[in-house]
Symmetry: C2
Subunit: 263 residues, 2 copies
């Protein structure tokens, strides 16, 4: 009996750590190898190795006249629609467009992405590319619909501190700006984040276990159920973008309002 062959997919792995021997670099290398072994095509944006420019400024928009006031969204939208973004940005947009899934690998610094990765997001997801005119509306059928998204983080603290009642907050809530604000807003389907805890002094067997767990998550990249965020175009919200009365799961509040009950 023949096994069904999973379809070959295209995956962009974006990695953000200054040290080539770091745990993050190892997890990136593992993911690339694991996904290629499964028959997928993989491209990597190793932001530190690329010396990625982190800050948005007028140089991003070559047509912007130096003596004019820079309105960032307007300038980036015009440059995007005219195909006149700085080449490093255009190259990353092409990778995202090419991909069926984006994986972000980073150490959780101050409960969010390192600046270099935030700068990849700030500069690449321009109006006209990730949202805005001439693309579908945000939150469900957005500009980048049809793509999966997975955050893979390392964190110094123990898992219990990010658990349901953990002092840092639940990891999915801490990562809300990425999960809901970036991925879901642009139409991508985010999976539950993957985390390696106790990353500062992970023993050898901890690393082996982490790779095993990560491998399973990578195997489910196109089959695991994404986080069931509510849909703007699907009729859960009013014209002021507020959740309609009574739609929520009884007792839910805060960020849980924006998640549908799970299967």
């Amino acid at each position: 009996m023949m096994e069904t062959t999973p379809q070959q997919k295209k995956i962009l792995v974006v990695s953000a750590h200054p040290e080539p021997l770091s745990l993050n670099a190892s997890l990136t290398a593992f993911a690339v190898e694991h996904l290629r072994a499964a028959g997928h095509e993989v491209r990597v944006s190793d932001l530190y190795a690329m010396k990625w420019k982190a800050t948005v400024d007028a140089d991003d928009f070559p047509d912007h006249a130096g003596d004019r006031r820079l309105q960032v969204m307007g300038a980036s939208e015009r440059a995007t629609l005219a195909g006149r973004l700085s080449p490093d940005i255009a190259a990353e947009q092409e990778k995202v467009r090419w991909s069926d899934a984006v994986v972000l690998q980073f150490p959780l610094w101050w409960f969010s992405a390192p600046a270099i990765l935030k700068g990849w997001i700030d500069r690449v997801f321009t109006s006209g590319f990730g949202y805005g005119p001439e693309v579908p509306p945000p939150y469900s059928e957005g500009a980048l619909a049809g793509r999966r998204a997975l955050v893979s983080v390392t964190a110094g603290s123990r898992a219990s501190a990010f658990s349901d009642r953990g002092i840092h907050g639940r990891l999915e809530d801490v990562l809300h700006p990425l999960q809901h604000g970036l991925f879901w807003f642009t139409g991508m389907e985010p999976l539950e984040p993957f985390a390696v805890h106790g990353a500062h002094d992970l023993p050898e067997e901890g690393f082996a276990a982490a790779k095993q767990a990560y491998g399973r998550r990578l195997d489910g990249l196109f089959t695991d159920e994404p986080v069931p965020f509510r849909s703007l175009v699907g009729g859960d919200y009013d014209h002021d973008m507020r959740l309609l009365p009574g739609v929520e799961v009884p007792g839910a509040g805060g960020l849980d309002l924006h998640v549908r009950p799970r299967g």
Copy 2:
């Protein structure tokens, strides 16, 4: 009858926008003027004007041997304790230490701080300065206790989208990594964030109203009640940093677990 004179305080305003004529730059200028007129001492870190380096790397730690593996937390902790951080970082730490309050002014890009400001946070709040050895424990009586903190953001979207049931999530939840993760973790007392919505096409009278509202918030910088986050050392959490059973406000979940009932 003499009025009581409010005590003179020291305030650091950190501003993150590339355009000197932007709404953010105007709000920064307004805050500086308003606080000085009230008798306070004010210093400004205008990150774009300073050409602030956003990315953490080995250059931040002059004593780090180039051929050795860079463990970021360890290297930054050793450099901090030895007084051997790169001078730009040391200068910002001195400003934070000098201050009685820190105000962060920025445009909300992808539901968080622009990369250049994230890089200020990543690089300045090192182990040994903002947390870690030789300073008090995090979450309440931390390293930077005794300081107020205020986030002031501009956002393109309307206020309703960030309201209680708004699709983006409540602004305080979206800003959890800063409010709770940076400020409260390091012992600072965060106030409710201040926001100017509809920032892309704010009419003249909208700007006037925004300044008036911001002025009131700046007047309350040392007298408004901070967000009453729960305290790690105050006995709300167990040894695994999980909230003790039954401590929460009945019905509260998610990030609300970590806020005490308001007076």
